[in-house]
């Protein structure tokens, strides 16, 4: 058990070091390319009519992703309904 824990900690440490090393190559708050952000900031308000640029991006420029995220939530609900159906109803259930 202890040895297993040690290996787990080592793996997590290696992953952490690699990720920190990787993101140190990206300057925080000062990206090299920022043209898409600028496009959103300059055109978002007029094109979509929303003052909140975040919502403009989420519900207009990337609305399809939002539908996807809503679907993820719906999938989770259906999964919960399916998996808990025996505990909820206690009905007889036959396999396949």
């Amino acid at each position: 058990m202890n040895r297993k824990n040690g290996i787990t900690v080592c793996i997590i440490a290696i992953i952490a070091v690699v990720l920190i090393y990787a993101q140190s190559g990206i300057s925080f708050g000062d990206p090299v390319y920022q043209d898409m952000d600028q496009y959103f900031l300059l055109n978002g308000q007029v094109q979509t009519g929303g003052n909140n640029i975040c919502t403009d991006v989420v519900f207009d420029f990337r609305a399809f992703d939002t539908l996807g995220e809503a679907t993820v939530l719906f999938t989770a609900v259906m999964g919960v309904i399916v998996i808990f159906r025996r505990l909820m109803k206690g009905e007889e259930y036959e396999a396949e």
Partner: protein, 159 residues
């Protein structure tokens, strides 16, 4: 697991305020920080608060699962169909077909700071409301189902 009166009454008093704050976040999604997801989550946390405070059988009549499921489906269909309406009106899927038309939510907006008008944003507020309903219902359904099926004394009862 019955909670004390203090918890129950506090939850009862807090519930409408939480719901109104959530509805505010949803409806003003295109003007102020927040939106459908955030407001829906806030409203769902109100429902969960009720659920925790009233850990007894009355809650079944208070929060019927089937209505929540129907609200969820309605929200998702509203979202999907308001996106599909753009195709029927002759433009691309997910086009913002209400913006700058002068109709509902269709007032044009100038670039720059402004006080924030509710009647703007095109389909963004519609989708915000749809997602708000969906998230409220979905998270509540998950919580309610998990609550009922883990209840030691009333698991396995009729829904």
């Amino acid at each position: 697991m019955k909670q004390s009166n203090i918890v129950r009454i506090t939850a009862d008093i807090m519930f409408p305020f939480i719901m109104i704050f959530g509805a505010y976040v949803v409806l003003h999604g295109h003007l102020t920080p927040g939106g459908g997801f955030q407001g829906g989550a806030v409203m769902a946390s109100g429902v969960v608060l009720l659920l925790i405070a009233h850990c007894d059988k009355d809650i079944k009549t208070l929060i019927p699962t089937q209505i929540l499921k129907n609200v969820e489906t309605f929200g998702l269909l509203l979202f999907g169909l308001s996106a599909l309406a753009a195709v029927i009106l002759g433009s691309g899927f997910f086009t913002n077909w209400l913006v700058n038309t002068g109709l509902l939510f269709g007032t044009p907006v100038e670039y720059g700071p402004n006080p924030g008008y509710l009647n703007t944003g095109g389909v963004i507020p519609v989708m915000n409301i749809a997602v708000g309903l969906e998230v409220l219902a979905a998270l509540s359904v998950i919580a309610v189902i998990m609550f009922r099926s883990t209840e030691p004394d009333c698991g396995g009862e009729e829904q």
